[in-house]
Symmetry: C2
Subunit: 147 residues, 2 copies
Amino acid sequence: MLTVFTDEYFMMQAIKEAEKAALADEVPIGAVIVCKNNIIAKSHNQTEVLNDVTAHAEILAITSACAHLGSKYLKSCTMYVTMEPCVMCAGAIFWSQIGKVVFGASDDKRGFMRYGKELLHPKTKLEFGVCHEQCGSMVRHFFAKKR
Amino acid sequence: MLTVFTDEYFMMQAIKEAEKAALADEVPIGAVIVCKNNIIAKSHNQTEVLNDVTAHAEILAITSACAHLGSKYLKSCTMYVTMEPCVMCAGAIFWSQIGKVVFGASDDKRGFMRYGKELLHPKTKLEFGVCHEQCGSMVRHFFAKKR
C-alpha cells in the first residue's frame, strides 16, 4: 500500500510555507496543522510584514486552525513546523492542547526544549528531526545572507 | 508635587480592561502598554469571543502597541498587566524587548516565574505586586462562580 500522508509529506508542505517567508525576506519558518489527514491551516513567519513579534508561523497557524474548526482546542490535530518552536509558541501550543507536534530542525538558542517537554500539554505527543537538514539549512542560509 | 502617573494609576487602567473581560464572561485579565506616560495600547483577555487561545491580553496589547508605534520593538514602553503572564505571553514579551513589565497578582499555576525571570529579555525590568489584591480577587471570583 502506498502511504501518502507521511510525516515527511506534511513537513514538505510546511517547508513550502517557509519558502514563502524566504521570498518575503522573513526568517524562513513554516507550519501546517493537519486534522484527519487534511491540512486545515498553513502559515509562515510574518513578523516583518505584519510588524508584529507575535506573528510566528505557529501562532498564526493555531489562530487559523481554531477559526476553521470553531474550537479553542486542537486535540485531534498535528502541527508540522520546520523549526523547533520558541517559548512563546510552545506556550501557545500548550494552551491549544494540540494532539501532536512534529518539528524539523532544532533551535538550540531560542527553542523551548531548553526548558523541557513539560512546556507542552501533558497530552501532546512530540516528534522532531523530520526533514531537519532541509528545514535547518533554509534558516542558516537566511542568516548567512544577512551577515 | 502631585504625581499622577504612578504604577497604581496605570494598573488601575489595566484593571478597568479586566473588568471588560469579566462582563464578557472571559477570564478577567487586562493589560495596558505605556510609552512616555501615554497609554498606547489597552486590551483584555478575549480567548472566548475570538475562539483563540492566543488572544491573551498581553499578546493583543503587544500587537496593538507595535501597530501604533510602527515598530516591532517596545524598548521604551512599560506593560501593566493584572496577572503574572503565562509562558506564551512571557515569550512574546521577550521578543518585544519591552523596557519594563509590571504585573499585579502572581499565578503560581500558569505564571512564567516558575521558569525564572530569564524567560524575559535581559534588558526588561520587572516589578510585581501592584494592586495585587484587587487583580487576584477578580480572577478568584470568576473561577468561584464557575464551580
